[in-house]
Amino acid sequence: MFKQLGNWFIEAIKETLNLSWTLVGLVIATLTLTGSAQQVTGLATILTLAIWLLTIGFRK
């Protein structure tokens, strides 16, 4: 189980790196927004990233 977790962790890092440009765009968008828009964008970014990483295996 730890090995699977370790493998997943490595895959997650790879995926995050693949998403670098996308994340940069979303971070910039979050910083330029204020108020509710900023909160929603930030929350959406985190949730989407989390779902993306958690579904690595499913998407393969």
Binding site: W21, V24, I28, A29, L31, T32, L33, T34, G42, T45
Partner: protein, 663 residues
Amino acid sequence: MLRLCLALFLIIPTPAFADEITEVETFEGGNGEQVTDIVVPPTENNNLVIVENTWEAYGGMDNYHMSLEHSKHGGTSNDYEFVLPTDHDVYEVAFTIGAMNNQGSVQYTHNDDTTQTNTIDAQNGMNMNTMYEDIVYSVKNTANKFIDKFVITINDWSLLDNVEIKYEGTTTTTLDPLTVQRNANFASYGILETDNEKGIRIEEEEIVIQELIIIEIQEAIEVGDNMAITGYSETDEERVIREELTNVVIVVGDEEVTYNEKEQSDGTIDRDQERSINEELYGVALTDEQIERGDLELYDVKIIDEDIYEEQEFVNDADILDIEFIELEDEEYIELIEEEIKEIDLELYEIELFQDDIIIDEVDWIKIRIENDLFPPTEEEIKEDLIEVQDELDETLHGDDTKREDELQDEEVLVEQIQDFEDKDTIKGIFDTEEVIELTEKEVAIEVAEIKEVIVIEIEIATKEEIEDFTEEELVEYEEAKEEAIQEYVEDLTEEEVVEVLEEVNDIGVQNLSEASEEVQEIVQAVVEEAIQDVAQLTTEQVEVVAEVLQIKTEDVELIAESVKDDEVIAEAVEEYIERAVANKDVENYTLADVVTEISYESFIENPIKTFVDFNNLGDITIANIGDDMTNDQKEKAQEVVVPVILTRIISMAAFVFRRGNV
């Protein structure tokens, strides 16, 4: 005369009541010398009489004493005579004799030649301390009998000391001459002093008088000088006190200058400010009047005409066109016959035909124009004329002249153009355009000076040199004190005063505040914060002024005021808006949204996670109201940034997929 009599009375000795006088020969006049005029047995060439202090240990002997029958014990006796002073009537004699082992005698001789002999008992067997006797002989109770001398007869070495005689003497009182002077002067003018003291006193009084005269002269000079300078008849001390109450401190350039009452009313302040402004502009501290009369030439400074704004008078059109208005009087009317009129090319002469001047009934102008092929115009001519008119309209109405139509434009189009014109002619329109009204350096300096006039605050400002010499603690204290003074000043401002300051800021432009001092910038910043806090109490016009400062729309001011309470980033942006706008004066269109973005970025760098997880009233957010709490300015900025980023990402993704598909 009184003084003389008194002095003589005091100087002349006056007899006093008789007193008993005692003289004691102690041989303590130095080395055994006598202290009285009692004639004692001679010591020269006399081994039997010595004055010494060898046997002072014996009782009754005090230091020096006389030694009789010196070193002789027994044998024949010898007489030792003591002769008393003849100027005294001695009635009592006393002496101390000691260390006398053998009996002796003493014979007193009186003034009546009678004698009295008494025995002196031997003192053997006594110890040294008690081996003495005080012999006293008195004839006081015998009237007119006195003692002239006495003779001691002994044959044993004996010691003698403290030969005492008593007699009645008359004492004379002689006053001290100084006391005489004091008493005389006191009797004369009431001051108890000697003549010398009087002289000293008079000298001191003269010195004091001279000093008072000098002081009065100095005061008179001060009063005269101050009268010429200030117009008030006052000493320097009085002037300091008055000026403390009436002087004002005004910031001229970067310095604080104190102006007295006279300078406040004679235009010195205005001239100093002009000098300061002109020094910034031309490098020479001259007043506007001096510049107008050409003093800059003395310093080899030339003014470029473009920098000078001069009001230009409207030129009379007649001067340009040089039209001669000919007033035709009745007799000057030229009556033309029909044939002559036909021959005239009216267009060439551009003659305007006034119906009043010409008998219309007799001229058929339409016919004339038709015959001259001037009427009706051809379609081409009509089009050309319409195009000209349209161009003229485009130029005057600033409309969109890229759109040309052959047909006349509908009313709607014209209305739109008019509306566009109206929009662009308002404040909103101005901010919508990219053109910014740039002020010349002189105008900026004038506006900065006007801001300084509006901001009247008493605050201690240290020079750059003083700040450099401050320790860290002193610097902190200085900054805190300055900040406190600014806060107090701003809190005391009314809404009208706040808006007045902001209007002056708008005149110069926020980013041009870099020309003002740091303290003015801090004050303006505090005023902006105060305006945002009190926005609910401002009128619509005042809110517009605040909006202009922040370079946002009027309806967004309240939004900002609400956001400041909840959003730390926006609150910090408002606090630092002026400072950052001044720092980014070279950045075009630098607004509050840029400041918000910068602060968001800085907080993200500091704590990235917090930026994404800082949720505030998340439950109140709905799809319909997302972004309602953003200002229009912020939305535009976000569009400018987000859209290109997203597009870039989409394009890069598409290219990636395309490449993968071709592999």
